[in-house]
C-alpha cells in the first residue's frame, strides 16, 4: 500500500515527499495571493482616492476598504492550493530534484517496509542535501507598490465639497410664475390642459436660461406666460361674475323691468294682468255652472304655467352661466355642499328639459357636477340627501341659489387672491365691479362686439377698470397703441430701475454694452414695426 503524502512520514523519502507537498501548496497560494493582494490594494486605493476627492459621505468606509483589501486575499488564499498533489507526481518531482533517475519514484511507489535498504541508503544523501526550488516572489514588488499606493490614498486629506452656488437672481421670477400657475390650477381657475401647456413653457424657458443665461427672449417668454395666466384668471373671474350675477338676479326682476312698487311697474303689471285676463277670458260664456268651475280651474293652471315660464326663463339663464363657469373654473365644483349640488343638478335637469342649454354647456355642467360628486362634501359632511326627485319649489330653489351664491363668492375670493392686484376678491374689487356691471345689464370689459385686431374700448371711464398703481405690473388692452412711434410695448414694469455703473460709463463713452439679466426688467423694449413679423415668428407656438 502506498503511503499518503500527508500521513505521518515513515522515512526520509516520505518526509521529503510530504515536505515537497507542503511547499507546492505554499507556492500555489503565493502564486494566487500576491497578484490578488496587488489587485485588491490597487482597487482599494482607487476607491479611497475617489472617496477622498468627491465622496465625503463615504469617508468612514475608507479604512474598511483598506482592511478588506488586506483581509480578503488572506482569507481566500487558503482556498487555493487545497487540491493535494498526487503522490506519484510528488515523487517524480522529488526524483528530478535529487537527480535519482527514477530511483526515488520507484521507491516511493513501494511501501516503506518493502523498500530495499541498499537503494534507500543510496538515495539518503541526495535526499538530505536536496535543494528546494525557491518560491516565486517576483510579484512582491508589485504588491509593495500597490500597498504604498493604498497608504498614500489613506493619507490624502478628505476634500470638503464647496457650498452650493446660490441660485441665479432670475430664478425667483420663474418660481413666482410657477407658484401662481400651480395655485391657479389647484383652485380650478385654469383648465388642466392650459395649465400643463404653460407649465411646460415655463420649464423650457428655465432650462434655456440655466443653459445660456437669461436672455431677452427668455424674459419675453416668461412675460408671455404671465400674461396668458393673467388672461386665464381674468376669464375665470368674468365667468364667475356672470354666474354670481345670474344667481343673485334669478328671483329679481330683469334689468330692463321697472322696479317693483314704482308706477311704471304697476302700469306694466296691470297691462300684463289685463293681457292674461283677456287670454283667460272665455270666448263663449257657458251656461252650465259646472263649466264655470272648470274654466276657473283652467285659468288657474294657465296662470301657474305662465308664472313657471318666467322662472324657467331665469333658470335657463342661470344654467347657461353655470355652464360657462364650469368651463372656466372647474375646481369650484368641489366647494359646493351636497344640498346645493343636488339643487343644481335638479335645476340643470329642469333647464335641460326646457331645452335651454346647448350640448357643450350641458356637458360642461354635467362635468362640474360629476367633479362635485367625486370630491365629496366639503368639511366631511354627509353626501347628497335624498330629496324630492320632482321639480324644485320656489323656496327650495331660492335656498339653493343662496348657497350657490355663497359658494361662488368664496370661490371668487380665492380666485381674486391669485391676481396680482390682490383686490380681485375684495367686496369692492374688480370682481365686485364686474358683478355690479352684470346686474346693471352692462357687458364685461373685452366682451361685446369686436372691431377686429387692435380693437380697444372706445371710452375709458370709471367702468373701464382700474389703472395700474405704482409698483404693480399692469396689462394693456389687446392691440393698444400707446407709443407714438408706432412700436408696441411688450412689457412695462414700474419697478425702480437698477442702474449699472459700468453701463453708465459705457453710455458716457457712447459704447453699446450688454446688460446683465437682472437689469433687463428695468428696461423698456421697443420693437420697430418692421420687426414685428420676425418677433411674432420667433415667439410663435411652432418654434417652441
Amino acid at each position: 500500500m502506498k503511503p499518503s503524502p500527508h500521513a505521518a512520514p515513515a522515512d526520509l523519502l516520505d518526509r521529503r515527499i510530504a515536505q515537497l507537498a507542503r511547499r507546492k501548496r505554499l507556492a500555489a497560494r503565493l502564486r494566487i495571493l500576491l497578484p490578488a493582494l496587488a489587485i485588491a490594494f490597487g482597487l482599494a486605493a482607487t476607491a479611497i482616492i475617489t472617496i477622498r476627492m468627491g465622496l465625503p459621505d463615504a469617508a468612514p468606509a475608507a479604512p474598511w476598504l483598506a482592511g478588506a483589501a488586506l483581509a480578503l486575499p488572506l482569507l481566500l488564499a487558503p482556498l487555493y492550493g487545497r487540491a493535494r498533489p498526487r503522490r506519484a507526481q510528488l515523487a517524480a518531482e522529488l526524483d528530478t530534484l535529487v537527480d535519482a533517475r527514477g530511483l526515488a519514484m520507484g521507491l516511493a511507489d513501494e511501501a516503506p517496509t518493502a523498500r530495499d535498504e541498499g537503494w534507500v541508503s543510496r538515495l539518503r544523501r541526495p535526499l538530505e542535501e536536496v535543494s528546494w526550488p525557491r518560491h516565486d516572489w517576483s510579484r512582491l514588488p508589485l504588491v509593495a507598490l500597490a500597498a504604498a499606493g493604498l497608504v498614500a490614498a489613506l493619507l490624502v486629506p478628505q476634500r470638503v465639497p464647496e457650498p452650493a452656488s446660490p441660485p441665479p437672481p432670475w430664478q425667483v421670477h420663474f418660481e413666482r410664475t410657477k407658484s401662481r400657475l400651480e395655485a391657479a390650477e389647484t383652485h380650478g381657475a385654469v383648465p388642466h390642459a392650459e395649465a400643463q401647456r404653460l407649465a411646460e413653457q415655463v420649464e423650457r424657458l428655465e432650462a434655456h436660461a440655466a443653459q445660456s443665461g437669461m436672455s431677452q427672449a427668455a424674459w419675453d417668454g416668461l412675460d408671455r406666460v404671465d400674461r396668458d395666466l393673467e388672461r386665464a384668471l381674468a376669464d375665470a373671474r368674468a365667468r364667475l361674475a356672470e354666474a354670481i350675477a345670474a344667481a343673485q338676479t334669478t328671483r329679481e326682476p330683469r334689468a330692463g323691468d321697472p322696479a317693483p312698487g314704482t308706477p311704471a311697474f304697476e302700469a306694466a303689471d296691470a297691462e300684463r294682468r289685463r293681457r292674461d285676463k283677456d287670454r283667460l277670458k272665455p270666448k263663449d260664456r257657458p251656461q252650465d255652472p259646472t263649466a264655470g268651475a272648470e274654466q276657473a280651474e283652467a285659468r288657474k293652471r294657465l296662470l301657474e304655467r305662465l308664472t313657471r315660464d318666467r322662472e324657467d326663463e331665469r333658470l335657463q339663464q342661470l344654467a347657461k352661466s353655470l355652464a360657462g363657469l364650469a368651463e372656466a373654473a372647474p375646481g369650484l365644483a368641489s366647494r359646493l355642499d351636497p344640498e346645493t349640488q343636488d339643487a343644481l343638478r335638479r335645476a340643470m335637469e329642469q333647464a335641460n328639459a326646457l331645452d335651454g342649454l346647448s350640448p357643450e354647456a350641458r356637458e360642461a355642467l354635467e362635468e362640474m357636477l360629476r367633479q362635485a360628486a367625486a370630491a365629496g362634501p366639503p368639511g366631511g359632511a354627509a353626501g347628497p340627501q335624498a330629496g324630492d326627485p320632482g321639480e324644485l319649489d320656489p323656496e327650495a330653489l331660492g335656498r339653493a341659489l343662496e348657497a350657490l351664491a355663497k359658494a361662488l363668492e368664496e370661490g371668487a375670493g380665492q380666485l381674486g387672491q391669485l391676481g396680482q392686484s390682490g383686490e380681485g376678491g375684495a367686496p369692492g374689487g374688480e370682481l365686485g365691479r364686474m358683478i355690479a356691471r352684470l346686474r346693471a345689464g352692462l357687458t364685461a370689459p373685452g366682451a361685446g362686439v369686436s372691431r377686429g385686431p387692435g380693437s380697444v374700448a372706445l371710452s375709458q371711464g370709471a367702468d373701464a377698470g382700474p389703472a395700474a398703481s405704482p409698483g404693480e405690473v399692469g396689462a394693456l388692452p389687446p392691440g393698444a397703441h400707446v407709443n407714438p412711434d408706432g412700436s408696441i410695448t411688450l412689457a412695462v414694469t414700474s419697478r425702480d430701475p437698477e442702474l449699472d455703473a459700468a453701463a453708465l460709463e459705457g453710455l458716457s463713452r457712447g459704447a453699446l454694452r450688454e446688460h446683465e439679466p437682472s437689469n433687463a426688467d428695468a428696461r423698456r423694449v421697443h420693437i420697430a414695426p418692421r420687426h414685428r413679423g420676425a418677433v411674432a415668428r420667433y415667439f410663435s407656438e411652432d418654434d417652441d
Partner: protein
C-alpha cells in the same frame, strides 16, 4: 512485484554488459546501436534494422546469436520466397511401420534467433508469414499449431524502401517489431580499425556468454524493474500524443500523421525502458529512458500523411518533437 535488490540487479547488469562488450567487439563504433538491440532483446521484442548493404547488420545479428548461445537461423528474403519456405511444409515420407504419411518439416522460423535478412525484398504475402510467429510465438500449418522455441527473436534487416526491388512492410508487420533501428556508416577511425584488425573483413566468432536459460532469467529480471506511476503516465501521454484523431491533438501531429501509435507501442516502450534501466544498473525506470527510446519504438508505427512526405518530414522527426513537447509531469 518487489523491486530487485542491488545484488540481483548487479548480477543481471554484469551478464548484459558481457553481451554488450561482445557486440562491441563485433561491430566497431556502434555502441548505441548494439545497446538498443540488446535492450529490445531483453524486453522480449523483435528488432528491425534498416540500412544500406554492407553496414554490418547481418554480422550484428549473427554475433548476438553467438553471444547469447541461442539457436540461430538465417532466411534470405527474395521476391520468390514463399511462406512455406519460412514456416515449413508437410512432405510425404515413409514412416516406419506406418507407411507414407505427411510429415511436417520445420522451416527456418523454428530457431531462437531468426535473421530475416532483407525482409522487404520478399512479397507482402511472405512477409506476413512471420506475423503469427512474432506475436504468438507459434506457427500454424494445415490446422496444426507448432510452438516456437523460447526465447524467440526475429531480427530483420531491410534496405531503405527507396531501393529498387523492395516491398514496404505492411503496418501490421511493422507494429510487431519492438524497435526499428537505423544502421548508419562509421567514421574513418572506425573503418581504419576494421581494416587493421580484420584481414578477411569478418569478425571473429565470439564465445557465448549466455544461454537460453540465463537469457530468460535476465528477461525476467527486466520485468522486475520498477515502472513508476508518473513514468507510466508519461508513456501513455506520449503515445496518445501521436494520435491525430484525439481531442487536443497537436497541430504537428494533425498535419503530419495519418495514423498514430497503438497500445502495443506503449507496452513496447515500457518494456524497452525497463531493459534500458537494467542495462544502466537502475532498479527503476526514469523519464530519460523513455525519452531515449521513444523514437526507435514509436516512429516506425506511425503512418505519416501525404503532406509530411512532401515536406520531407519523417515520423522519427515527429516523435522527436513530441518528446520535447510532452511534459514529463501532468499539469
Amino acid at each position: 512485484m518487489a523491486m530487485m535488490t542491488e545484488p540481483e540487479l548487479a548480477a543481471h547488469q554484469t551478464q548484459a554488459q558481457a553481451v554488450l562488450d561482445g557486440l562491441d567487439q563485433i561491430l566497431y563504433g556502434q555502441q548505441a546501436l548494439t545497446r538498443q538491440v540488446l535492450t529490445a532483446l531483453l524486453a522480449g521484442g523483435h528488432v528491425l534494422l534498416e540500412g544500406l548493404p554492407g553496414l554490418g547488420k547481418t554480422e550484428l545479428v549473427k554475433g548476438l546469436a553467438h553471444l547469447s548461445g541461442l539457436d540461430f537461423k538465417r532466411v534470405q528474403f527474395t521476391p520468390d520466397l514463399l511462406p512455406g519456405d519460412i514456416t515449413g511444409n508437410h512432405i510425404l515420407q515413409d514412416v516406419a511401420g506406418q507407411g507414407r504419411q505427411l510429415v511436417f518439416r520445420k522451416g527456418p522460423i523454428f530457431a531462437q534467433i531468426v535473421l530475416a535478412d532483407e525482409i522487404n525484398r520478399a512479397s507482402p504475402k511472405t512477409q506476413s508469414a512471420l506475423l503469427e510467429a512474432m506475436q504468438e510465438r507459434c506457427v500454424t500449418v494445415l490446422d496444426a499449431t507448432h510452438p516456437l522455441p523460447r526465447p524467440f527473436f526475429v531480427l530483420a534487416t531491410q534496405n531503405p524502401v527507396e531501393l529498387d526491388g523492395t516491398y514496404p512492410l505492411p503496418e501490421a508487420q511493422l507494429d510487431r517489431f519492438h524497435v526499428k533501428l537505423e544502421v548508419t556508416g562509421v567514421g574513418r577511425d572506425v573503418l581504419t580499425r576494421i581494416l587493421m584488425s580484420r584481414p578477411d573483413g569478418r569478425p571473429e566468432t565470439p564465445s557465448p556468454v549466455l544461454d537460453a536459460e540465463r537469457l530468460l532469467a535476465l528477461m525476467a529480471g527486466v520485468r522486475r524493474v520498477a515502472l513508476p506511476e508518473a513514468v507510466a503516465e508519461y508513456i501513455a501521454r506520449l503515445v496518445d500524443a501521436t494520435r491525430p484523431d484525439v481531442a487536443g491533438a497537436r497541430p504537428l501531429v494533425k498535419e503530419n500523421v495519418r495514423w498514430g501509435a497503438s497500445p502495443r507501442a506503449a507496452i513496447a516502450l515500457a518494456g524497452c525502458a525497463r531493459a534500458a534501466a537494467l542495462l544502466a544498473g537502475r532498479p527503476s525506470v526514469g523519464f530519460a529512458d523513455v525519452k531515449a527510446l521513444a523514437p526507435a519504438v514509436i516512429a516506425h508505427r506511425l503512418i505519416k500523411s501525404y503532406e509530411a512526405g512532401l515536406r520531407g518530414l519523417t515520423t522519427r522527426d515527429v516523435v522527436g518533437e513530441l518528446v520535447g513537447a510532452v511534459p514529463e509531469l501532468a499539469s
